[in-house]
Symmetry: C2
């Protein structure tokens, strides 16, 4: 996950006999694009055509669906440019340039600690970003690298008119479902194409990736450009122990319980399946990821390596008293975190004790009423001027809210609140009174008018007076628990977060002093480039081959969800060359956020599209295991064959130059 | 959890100024009784009256209930002796004497290892028990103490005619339900009385506990006699790490998912609530216990103490090469266990991949058909002559089987099988074929005739020919997976269990050489005596008072399950002295299996009845924390007041001598 301005070209040259030039790297940067909130993508034609994963475009595909035309189930193809359909609210960003602002940031925080440190840091970052933000077509972010070892200012060009061009059926995009998620061999067509527009016309994108003539072969070097979200590879042993012993197990238990309940609800009927589908997918995906991470941390070798690395760094930093104390300060913060973990998760972070969209809306309304009259810098973070548009978009969204699902999740939340905090906890007592938690949830959901976006808008626009006067039961609940939620948030921010940030920065500087840029910084949702090769792995003595074929999908199909192929595939079977490569694995180091990343060869041509990692990649949050960690990608030949032979998407194929 | 023949009378004398004599200890032994499979109880009158917990007698209470007369909901009181109702299949055992047979056992296994060691040990234990077992009124068990450091032969008198005398409503027996389980303050009346009969008449039981005139006061010394089930306090650090990192988290995730599904199913209607109630209670109880145990093992101080104790013992054993190697051998076995844990749990141990009573029956039939023709000593353990009666009782039981619940649990099991082993695992492929796991579960449950005990009996009596000829789909499933299940069981027994037993014994002998009987052996479901005192504890700086009152129950009541008091209590409120003590906590060291244990004072009088432990007692599986680990008990005065003023059970009260 190398920075494009600190790429180890020498190492690549030594290993693969190919030295990327700065020109090559600049081209990769400009042909890549951040996709929406948390995905990656790339320009694949000079006319703004963009390739990403189906699961990255799913939000758009859902929004364009109606009861009569379900594009998620049926797929979509715009036969002509005029048929391309605007994705509401979707934005792409292209990284145009990078400036090092470390000295300016360090100057502002030097000598400070605790709340003063945090406030000075926040103010300086806002100042630097503010100087740069010159229009709606440009976005500026100060990026914290190496946990504060470096600060860079990133400038992005924004594309805010993005239209859907092609998406296959979800049945093939997510073929194998939860059982095959994070697994390989794999047979998915998790691809979608959209197009960036400017001034109502397809955008001109001279920096784009061409399409490989034959795609990747085993052992061929591969490069992956994308926006890995976050990793914790530089976390201290105390932080990893907290994750291993507290955060991950608690999340796994909670998600497992949700999974059981949602699956059971989903099985009651077609309508129940529809309303639970999205949440259940999210829960299962997250659950599998958390389990994989936990498994990495209970691997004795992984933890031993972490302990050894930390000891080495502590020795290297032994001349610096502040850095020396930093590890112990972070360990103390973990103890503090243990003590407040449950109420923080239940009342504020999740807030899992009140797990319902209607509650989220109610809390947003209550807090907005209280915070908006304050100056931006004194508000809760998510209500600052910079964040308000995001909050408004969510709050006023017309996305449907399902009362049956709301009752279920809120009821589970309230049961959990009582279970974890105990029936005698003051918050539990004032929330539940003498009521049964599930019946209370039903009553709140049925009684709340916040299901109507117009009601939310009126309360939001009405400000404090309107919200204070509201008798909506969900608003009343949010108001009732807000003092407790704010108090536990304050405890977390002061006792845990501030200590971790300040001391993490000290450790980061010590590491930077010892190792420089010879290791890459933890992922931060910013553009990175990874090098690797098409390569299987050894699974308990069994060799996993790196490439699957379209024929394999037909062999694996059972006719039953999640192994049911769509009709388009069954109809096209005779027209296909079943030996066409469909999916592959590479040794590129990726993580969540890399979904939609192009896989390119040394010539900068598309040979694949990352859509997942294998089960060993889940430990990638903490360490990269070259022997087993693999990116899972579509093969470029499989994409073209499907577009051409199954979907008849000739227009896209020819735009790709095939 | 002291042995009654190695009780530290001096220590008790030094702490409490009271030295129990051997006569006192013998009386305690004879007035105590093991209750059914896994509980404790005591004789409380000379005419066979026995006191235990409601939750220990629940199986009997359920079996005596009908659609018209639900004794679980409504409670039961036999106004006269003739009304006392036989508990089907319930047995009490009274420990009559104990012989040390360590030398005979050691002689048989000396110099042996691996399978030879295991077989010789098993044969010698069977021989010693066989010599002693002289009739249906007597049972003999060789008890392994200190993990093989000592072997004792226990002789029990059996009472096989046991009749229900009194039980309150479940609403007050388990008042507070899952939220209050393992918690304190507490307000439960978890008591039941039964009577032992001999020759159709109340048994003469001259050794019984009298009833205290006033019950226990704060700081008063208390003794608890009972049958704690099992502890792992002498487990090695490698074994504890395995529990912390693998077994407990996997169980917690599985139980959480079941809890979610069962709760959701239970909420669908009254009938669904009825069929899920027992399983859901078991799942929630186990889940809370597992979470408590996991929390103890992720406590840095607990684990540090374990590491220090192990290092000290290794140093003490440094002159003994065999013992020295034992810790490493056990650590190797944990690695082996990790590798086979999932398939062992799914296919054999649980078998959680096929979690359904009908499957258990099918497997029992398939295995009985194969094993019964062999000599007893060569069969699977649970099919030996000694164990067959238990298996037959379960297999031929008329307890109802609920198809809706069976489909749910089997469906979840099959999904789990595919999820954990992967869709490509040979067992998954042959079990599922191309079917959807939940639909397959439905089909198997609906198609199986094993729901009828007569069908099971015919197959059992018909032996191999009948079972081989059966086309019952559940029998076919059990047959299909049996080779795989047996193979993984063999791997577990050889690579894990045998290594742990052999080397555990070596470590135990080293510990015994170093410490003798100055620590008590791990719990083994055999009679133990614990000393302690009535004592609250400090919970994060808040003092928890040791005794609650009947008035507290009324304050806590909400009218909603699980905080709804039964009508009998509401009606009686005016007649009660609300200051009467109801529940209390003591510092006695107990664990699961101690349920139903009498709490006695120095005069051997009943002052309470153990029914639970506090949340810190859950870590008691691994260590006893004197500062926080507490037994939760009924107060003797609360029992008498409820019998007298609420239930009008005058006959019982006067038999107790009050």
């Amino acid at each position: 996950m190398w920075l494009l301005d600190a790429f180890p070209a020498d190492r690549v040259a030594a290993r693969y006999g190919f030295r990327p030039t700065q020109e090559w790297l600049d081209h990769v940067r400009l042909a890549s694009a951040r996709f929406g909130g948390g995905c990656s993508s790339s320009f694949v034609s000079p006319s703004g055509l963009v390739m990403t994963n189906h699961h990255c475009a799913l939000d758009c595909i859902q929004k364009l669906s109606t009861a009569k035309s379900d594009l998620v189930q049926d797929g979509f193809y715009a036969k002509q440019e005029a048929d391309e359909r605007v994705c509401p609210g979707l934005e792409l960003s292209q990284l145009t340039d990078v400036t090092d602002v470390t000295a300016r940031v360090d100057g502002a925080t030097r000598g400070l600690a605790g709340a003063a440190f945090r406030d000075a840091l926040r103010a300086q970052l806002a100042r630097i970003e503010g100087e740069c933000r010159t229009g709606t077509e440009l976005r500026c972010d100060v990026v914290t690298l190496y946990h504060g070892g470096r600060y860079h200012l990133y400038r992005y060009k924004r594309f805010q008119d993005v239209r859907l061009v092609f998406a296959p059926e979800v049945a093939i995009a997510f073929f194998g479902g939860d059982p095959d998620n994070f697994m390989f061999p794999r047979y998915d067509l998790d691809v979608a194409f959209v197009r960036a527009y400017e001034g109502g016309k397809p955008a001109k994108t001279p920096s784009y990736f061409g399409w490989s003539a034959a795609g990747a072969k085993p052992d061929e070097p591969t490069f992956v450009a994308g926006h890995p979200g976050s990793t914790s590879r530089l976390a201290t042993v105390a932080q990893l122990t907290f994750l291993r012993d507290v955060a991950l197990p608690e999340s796994i238990a909670m998600l497992s319980e949700w999974r059981g309940a949602l699956t059971e609800l989903s099985g009651r009927g077609k309508e129940q399946r529809r309303i639970t589908q999205k949440l259940l997918f999210g829960v299962e995906n997250r659950l599998k990821a958390m389990k994989g991470r936990r498994r990495a941390l209970v691997d004795a070798e992984v933890m031993a390596a972490k302990v050894a690395a930390e000891e080495a760094l502590r020795r290297a930093a032994s001349g610096d008293p502040a850095a020396r104390a930093a590890w112990d300060a972070i360990a103390d913060a973990q103890r503090a975190h243990r003590a407040i973990y449950a109420p923080y998760q239940l009342l504020e972070k999740g807030p899992y004790g009140f797990y319902a969209t209607l509650f989220d809306h109610a809390r947003a309304l209550v807090r907005a009423a209280e915070e908006r009259p304050k100056p931006s810098g004194e508000r809760l973070r998510e209500l600052s001027d910079a964040q308000l548009p995001l909050l408004e978009r969510r709050l006023l969204s017309s996305a449907p809210i399902e009362p049956e699902l709301e009752s279920l999740t809120l009821g589970m939340g309230l049961v959990r609140l009582r279970e974890v905090l105990g029936p005698d906890h003051p918050v539990v007592k004032k929330v539940l009174g003498k009521e049964d938690p599930r019946r209370l949830a039903d009553r709140l959901v049925r009684g709340s008018k916040l299901i109507d976006p117009a009601v939310r808008k009126a309360l939001y626009d009405g400000g404090r007076a309107a919200v204070d006067a509201s008798k909506d039961p969900m608003i009343e609940l949010a108001r009732l628990v807000d003092p407790d939620a704010r108090a536990i948030r304050k405890a977390y921010e002061e006792q845990v977060e501030a200590v971790e940030t300040k001391n993490g920065e000290l450790i980061a500087k010590a590491r930077f002093a010892a190792l420089g840029t010879s290791v890459y910084p933890d992922a931060t949702s910013t553009l990175r480039l990874s090098f690797g090769a098409v390569k299987g792995w050894d699974e308990d003595g069994r060799a996993v081959a790196p490439i699957t074929t379209m024929g394999g999908a037909f062999e694996r199909a059972t006719g039953n969800h999640p192994f049911a192929l769509p009709k388009s595939w069954l109809d096209a079977q005779a027209r296909l060359d079943l030996a066409t490569p469909l999916n592959l694995v590479t040794s590129n180091d990726i993580i969540g956020g890399n979904s939609g990343s192009p896989v390119i060869d040394r010539e900068g041509k598309i040979v694949g599209l990352v859509f997942d990692g294998n089960i060993h990649s889940l430990g990638g949050d903490y360490h990269y295991d070259a022997a087993k960690n693999r990116a899972v990608a579509l093969h470029s030949e499989g994409i073209v064959a499907a577009l051409d032979r199954i979907y008849g998407a000739k227009r896209v194929v020819s735009e790709l130059g095939r």
